[in-house]
Symmetry: D2
Subunit: 134 residues, 4 copies
Amino acid sequence: MEQLAHNLGKNLAKVAEILVSGGLGGTMEAVFQGFKAVGGLTIGITPGYDKKEANEHADIVIPTGLGLARNVLVVKSAEVVVALPGEAGTLSEIAYCLQFGIPVISLKSWDIPGVIKAETVEEAVNKVRELLKA
Amino acid sequence: MEQLAHNLGKNLAKVAEILVSGGLGGTMEAVFQGFKAVGGLTIGITPGYDKKEANEHADIVIPTGLGLARNVLVVKSAEVVVALPGEAGTLSEIAYCLQFGIPVISLKSWDIPGVIKAETVEEAVNKVRELLKA
Amino acid sequence: MEQLAHNLGKNLAKVAEILVSGGLGGTMEAVFQGFKAVGGLTIGITPGYDKKEANEHADIVIPTGLGLARNVLVVKSAEVVVALPGEAGTLSEIAYCLQFGIPVISLKSWDIPGVIKAETVEEAVNKVRELLKA
Amino acid sequence: MEQLAHNLGKNLAKVAEILVSGGLGGTMEAVFQGFKAVGGLTIGITPGYDKKEANEHADIVIPTGLGLARNVLVVKSAEVVVALPGEAGTLSEIAYCLQFGIPVISLKSWDIPGVIKAETVEEAVNKVRELLKA
């Protein structure tokens, strides 16, 4: 999964200049690493107050201290969201996208009515490109 | 659906003393009305700063001004959550229950892995009773 | 100072039915203890996610997980605020009162333009009574 | 006051690469304008959900929807804070600095025990430089 995230990050850098995530480890770190490898700017909006909580590929850290409520901010900062395979945290972010009317692409992630499904990184990135143009 | 909510509220009052919700209209109002009809205490945790935003069956109003981030507080205040049919807001609350490990009963609501399904108010209330005892 | 807080709580119960605070120890606990001794209802809006963080005199606990941002909720839930001697946390709550236009009585606490000063518990409680009537 | 803010922004750009503020108009806009004039990166952490609420000199907008609770995030994102003349919102941010232990320079702003006072932009910027080195 981190391979998928890294690959996504690398390819997203072709269509976007800034990538926002929850800023922690695992998928969030891998996607930042890929995005930065091609020169993008990364912003991690973290749940705690300690900036060191963020992964080392976050250029800018917003340490919210809001716990899980910070998921709203991660989503609302974006024009388009790509959801990677994940658990309930990812599901809450998809739900917030649907509430806000922010387009959310599910790359092998939750299949919820209203998400835009993508099976490959290429397909996801193409959809991001189109949505950012619109 | 509001009939279902009202009926749920009335029956929850047999097993719980306090009912928390997002405090607005529709389902949130109907369930409060039912709960108060049998003497329970209702707490509405609302998204805006204006207490008048709450429905008139909220005994106590916590006007958070946090927007959708207040969903976290609605969920985290509870020992057990019952989800009624709803859209993305309900889905975000189910997701938070799963993240926090708070038991969530889906009464004809979202069918997400990890929720406890119930088909009738009676079944939902019985499950709440058992969970509160545990 | 906790004697002052306890005494304040006891006397506030003559003019108010519900007392909200940050729900932790020290002053917040003493004022709840006094208020409950005369039968009032206490609500603790706590910074973390663990309900056990609240003092044992909180009847209702709203565990926000919002850290210091929960200070906004403590203030905004109230019709009138009484500030006891305290440090920067108290100062942030006074500042929020001034922003929201909520009357704030400073009982030997910060002397900021806009607060209503009181030298004794009796004076503070009389002012709360008048403000609640208005 | 906006002249002071603009001047502060321009000079802060000599010692810092990123400037965070509440992102709205008035002082927040003037300080961004000055900072950007010399090439710095500006981040506006706004209270509402609408990115258009931010002033046009914000390079990055984090639209929190948290209302006044977003003041915590503005402060906590920083290594050093400079408070300009302002009202209760500024006071709440100074209070949060003191709670977090973040150094806060009061440039003709609130005189609260614990703040570092500065009478001129030059003095404020020199203090920021020293604090960022430490």
